[in-house]
Amino acid sequence: MTNRRDFLKLSALAVAATSGMPGFLARAATQAGGTKTLVVVQLTGGNDGLNTLIPYSNGAYYAARPNIAIPKKDVLTVTPDLGMHPALRPLMKLWDDGHLAWMENVGYPNPNRSHFASMAIWHTADPAQAQADGWIGRIAEKIGDPFCASNLGAATPQALQASEFSLPSIDSVDNFQLKLPGGMETPFQSLLNSPRSGEAAYLTRATRQMLKNTARVQENVRKYKAGATYPDTKFASQLRDAARLIAAGVGQRVIYVSLGGFDTHAGQRAEQDGLLGTLAGGLSAFQADLERQGLAKDVIVMGFSEFGRRVAENGSAGTDHGKGSVMFAFGQGVKGGVHGSSPDLEDLSEGDIKYRQDFRGVYAEALTRWLNLDARGILGGTFTGPRWIA
């Protein structure tokens, strides 16, 4: 086991690592000072928005989906036209309190039905697909701190790619620490100090950043004690780690969590119903935890998927890739309600819901009115959207 002194020694070493990025840390100190956190939830695979926020008063919805529509009697009513999937019941309290927002018909121009192209567009906030770095990577560059945003999970999504560095992925906070065998600290430092170029230099930089990040987390996470019981799912345990990082106060402004499996081409009801249950169970525990910790006023959650699905079900009791869909957000800082009109099922684009609100407008609201950052610089343009921050 490495002790605390060793950590400090290693993190001192890591300071030298940043010499490759001149001025980087200096900017960090002045701009990273915000206290608000944005948690981004990615629903991977293309969540079916129509069976998430259901236009239960619309006969066209039931006509298009004879096998997989959510019966009106099961819908959790939120407006005279729309209701939530029954598996989302754990989020109803947030709705009743006016802290849950739904953004309707969200998408972008020239929609792409490829998972990867569309996901890349959401990650880079660039429908032209010219950008390689992600919108959260650009946030981190703006703030100037390679630890102000992190992904919970094994692989770093493109949204968190920055040109100069890679933002951390934390699979489990407990295991997020370095244990070098005894006597290896000094040789390890010397090895990292040897000059390198190309990918070897990149790996050296990544290793040094890891030493710094792990030290920062381990020094602080012991402050946390869970304020709620989380369901026994990987998704919920990642949200619990998100709460720990926030409670530890290690300066995380954006935390990224994913839930996969939404590509429901066949047998959709069984699959999506279960996933929405996992989603709502994890998120409601997370919110309860934040409230107990007294952190709820500083944290909001925003959820998206790379696209919605075809209005009409296919021959396999599933749905194929579509276009416009819903986003959601919640937290005490969120203005609850449905932002945007019910989807128009009479005016479709190749069988899909047309987008009426650009997702970059939704991002812009979080950037300017929650994180207090210059959205224009990060998104590469001015986008207006629903006013979903309270």
């Binding site: 951390p168 295991n175 090895l191 990918e199 792990t214 081409h265 296919n314 021959g315 599933g318």
Partner: protein, 421 residues
């Protein structure tokens, strides 16, 4: 213009480089055996593999008590073959193809389907016909299930496979329209399988089945060709597109040359691909004996499996008990690479995406287990720095040389140089 062949006899660093790229790494003895040989002979010999496997594989997925257990055993069996098998290049290619023609065992739960699929990837590892390979993939129960073509019926099309055939398996995004995706799906209707459906039948052998009554035999137009096209026609047309030559050649360059491959070199391979009508063996023979291959050092970040298997092979294939091997397969998963289960149908992006704080920590733990653990092999005569890093004088050579066998090997395994191939 074909790639320029390497003319010099292989140096020690050349030989180490070749084995790091084509065999996950090797011992000093295996490296020495290639020194002084001609690049072309070395490439041909490595590609002349048959279908023989490692004797004594401790894992048999058909013995699994549940689908989940069986699939775990299947991963263990593959890791064993990767680490101890007689044909590492065949396994490297199968791994590469498993990241091209992606299926995933979270959806394909039938064990014979998965076993057959891996054997299909091995059989076609250096295929003489990419079209034939693609056709067999398209008709395999594993792929029919994974991309839902078994649900693709006349009047009730399911576009999933048709879309990915173009986007991910042949041309890549660009040279086709949404209409081609729809028309392709129509032509592919009727391809399904029988047997092995449902959780209880997880050990039952499924078989490809053509259902003529489910096939849409109307006229279609696909990538500019019209007629009463069938599934075979779709595969033929898609695989023979010029874009396919470039798109799949790029994948081979990603696997063997660099994480950020050179466009001009890819064009050369694509020309050979087009000239030989998708003869992957011809493309690889040229590629693995080229100047470009030997000039491209330390430009690939090893994937978790390559890191693990590279460690085991470089250490001379020490015996690892079955339980530990299964744990290692699980660790590869925590490092982002569950065998036969990429996160999405696009496969692992690889390169720098393998690297983050968590995966770096795990790599360090694995290195410690391989060199410092109670079951670690004897390292009194450790592998040379050349075998470990691919370089005779790597960064930190003086420091590493001053350490004892165990510590030197541990530190080498966690060095940036060992993470690269």
């Amino acid at each position: 213009m074909p790639l320029t062949p390497l003319t010099r006899p292989l140096t020690a660093e050349d030989a180490a480089h070749f084995l790091r790229r084509t065999a996950f790494g090797a011992t000093d003895e295996q490296i020495r055996a290639l020194v002084g040989q001609k690049a072309q002979d070395v490439a041909r010999a490595a590609l002349a593999f048959d279908q023989s496997v490692a004797p004594g594989n401790p894992f048999d997925p058909m013995q699994g008590a549940t689908p989940g257990a069986a699939l775990q055993l299947g991963r263990g069996a593959w890791l064993y073959e990767l680490a101890y098998g007689p044909h590492p290049l065949r396994e490297k290619l199968a791994l590469t193809w498993s990241n091209h023609f992606v299926i995933a065992t979270d959806k394909v739960r039938n064990v014979p389907a998965v076993v057959d699929y891996l054997n299909l990837l091995r059989r076609h590892a250096a295929t003489r016909s990419f079209e034939r390979f693609t056709l067999e993939v398209a008709q395999s129960p594993a792929m029919l299930r994974y991309l839902d073509n078994d649900q693709n019926r006349k009047g009730k099309p399911n576009e999933n496979f048709s879309r990915e055939l173009l986007e991910l398996f042949t041309t890549g995004i660009g040279p086709y329209t949404e209409n081609d995706v729809r028309e392709g799906a129509r032509a592919l209707t009727g391809w399904s399988y029988q047997g092995g459906r449902g959780n209880k039948q997880y050990l039952e052998q499924p078989r490809f089945m053509y259902q003529p009554q489910q096939h849409d035999d109307g006229k279609k137009t696909y990538l500019g060709q019209s007629g009463a096209l069938k599934g075979e026609d779709i595969v033929r047309i898609a695989t023979s597109q010029p874009a396919t030559a470039t798109f799949v050649s790029r994948k081979l360059h990603r696997a063997f040359l660099a994480d950020t491959p050179d466009d001009a070199a890819i064009r050369s391979s694509a020309e050979t691909w087009t000239r030989t009508k998708g003869d992957v063996m011809a493309v690889l023979t040229e590629l693995l004996a080229s100047e470009a291959f030997y000039a491209s050092r330390s430009r690939i970040i090893r994937s978790p499996i390559e890191f693990l298997v590279g460690g085991i092979r470089t250490l001379g294939q020490p015996k690892i008990d079955a339980r530990s091997l299964l744990n290692l397969a699980g660790t590869a998963g925590r490092m982002g690479q569950v065998l036969l289960e990429p996160d999405t149908v696009k496969g692992w992006d690889g390169g720098r995406e393998w690297i983050n704080d968590t995966t770096l920590l795990l790599r360090m733990q694995v290195a410690a287990a391989l060199t410092m653990g109670s079951k670690a092999p004897n390292l009194d005569t450790p592998p040379s720095l050349l075998a470990l890093t691919g370089q005779e004088r790597p960064a930190g050579a003086v420091l590493l040389s001053s350490l004892k066998g165990r510590q030197r090997t541990y530190l080498s395994l966690i060095s940036p140089e060992f993470q690269l191939a």
